[in-house]
Amino acid sequence: MRVLISGYRGNPYCGGQGIYIYNLSRELAKLGVEVDVMVGPPYPDPLEEWATVYKIENLNIWSIKTKDIPYEKLVRIFSPWNFADYILTRLHMFPEMETYSFRAFFALKKILKEKRYDIIHDIQSLGWATVPMKGYGIPIVTTVHHPLTKDREADLMGNFGLWDKTTTILFYPLVMQSFVIKRLDRVITSFREGITELNKAFGVKPEKVSVVYNGMDVDLFQNTGEPREENALLFVGNTEDSKKGLIYLFEAMTMLPENVTLTIVDDGPPKKMTAADMIKKFNLSHRVKFTGKLSYEALVSLYSRKTILVMSSLFEGFGLPAVEAMACKTPVVVTTAGSLKEVVTEDCGILVPPKDPIALKDAILKLLSDSELRKKMGENGRRRAVENFSWPVAAKNTLKVYEDVIREFRRKR
């Protein structure tokens, strides 16, 4: 089978797409699939060992003021797609997905003169030109971890005033995604509730959605054997993302004993101010610290040393930190939002309702006071992560979806 994986961003260190493209392409290749990858910048780690990579240009100039755009990029703006990108970004839109899809459409036309694919796998771009791509006579599946409507809702919660709200609404290309997603052959999502969410957000028919749990590197994420710290909570995620529900975690922190500390794996001030402002407001500065961006090794070490991982999310499309923590035998306290109630079972963590700081506090206290329970949950978590959320399992299940879509596509023709 020959597959083209297409994603508008490939950075392996931030954002899920890059990690997904890297690991899925590698594992699919191990299963004997011929994989090509078409990807926009930031480009992924070298994949050439197992895939042919086609790099698509993009200046990534969203949120950069014109005078701050690097000179090397400035002089490239006057090409048609870059100029379209430039104008739309100045109008507060996020056109990367749109323009990527057009660039990919034309790049694919050239590639198809020499090659043929059995299926195209779009990673969450859902740009306008994905629809005419169907004209090449190849079935297209897309992976959508969660509909962007959830991000928009979360952002609107934190917006004040007409201008803030307007820029948020302009930012998310929901009209485009809603139009495109319904016209693709299959949608892969990473949790069962995603079927309902996609139907609610975009009107995707449930029979067009397949659930494949995301993967993670269970060999990399292993307990290091370092001694566990006591009363040390860990939060891993983007603090600027309102969906993470950090405010509820901080509220819970104010109700927890003074010796309970929280480590946040993300940038703090001056780079990111949202969480820092809340910490100041709740008077938690002496109990909360930021680590900044970490290497995988440092992150695994943190997972292995901290007492509990906490996720206070209002919505999660997968909840990678919970699985990573479970793989490192760390018990978790998570909300039942989105995919988390599928990812975390009651034998490897405690689930609480979202937006409920008291329930969060009670769950944390329960785990902090019972080391035996923590140990048991940690062992169960590791087992669950290996059995359900490893990349080989994700690739095998994705391959099954490909086969099903190709069969259906050929039958219809």
């Binding site: 014109t66 005078k67 755009i69 690097p70 000179y71 090397e72 400035l74 002089v75 703006i77 006057f78 100029f83 430039y86 104008i87 100045r90 809702e153 609107l156 919660m157 934190g158 004040f160 005033g161 007409l162 709200k165 307007t166 609404i169 302009l170 309102s242 529900g245 405010i247 509820y248 809340m278 407001k281 209002l314 937006k355």
Partner: protein
């Protein structure tokens, strides 16, 4: 001088010239009765000629107005509860503004369609001017940035 800087200067000059020309053509020529636009009676145009310009311009303008209406509508209809007390306490009158945004954009859309129907010059001139201003403004701004930004990489003379 690096070639990119030359392109930057050309971009600035051309966009500034074209914008000045469009302002002159739309506002000064007709009023001054220079015999250019004042001679153009849109009613005399063949329907195909008129609508081949009016339909694309009208559609782009309606798309922009529809986006404005849609933004207002989303703000009016979305139901989210802000979690942050400081936001709840503040009086957010964005719903009132959003209502007026819907009202104004809908009104402008009706006016535009009517203007195009009765072949009013301004129904085409204003959208054309706004679209030109956005595109030429972007070209001008990027050109200025190219001229005023120092190249971070040394120029390779080879």
């Amino acid at each position: 001088m690096p070639r990119a800087k030359i392109w930057g200067i050309i971009a600035v000059l051309v966009s500034a010239f074209l914008f000045a020309l469009s302002i002159f053509s739309f506002f000064i020529l007709p009023e001054g009765n220079f015999g250019f636009f004042s001679d153009v009676n849109l009613m005399n145009l063949h329907p195909l000629t008129y609508y081949s310009a009016a339909v694309p311009l009208g559609l782009i303008s309606l798309w922009v107005l529809a986006t404005g209406f849609w933004i207002g509508w989303v703000i009016l209809s979305i139901k989210v509860v802000p979690p942050m007390p400081e936001i709840v306490e503040k009086k957010d009158n964005s719903k009132i503004k959003a209502f007026f945004l819907c009202l104004i954009t809908a009104g402008l859309a009706v006016l535009l369609v009517y203007g195009i129907y009765v072949r009013n010059f301004w129904a085409l001139a204003i959208p054309a001017l706004v679209i030109s201003a956005v595109i030429l403004g972007a070209v001008f701004w990027v050109g200025m940035a190219i001229i005023t930004t120092r190249a971070t990489l040394p120029v390779n003379k080879n």
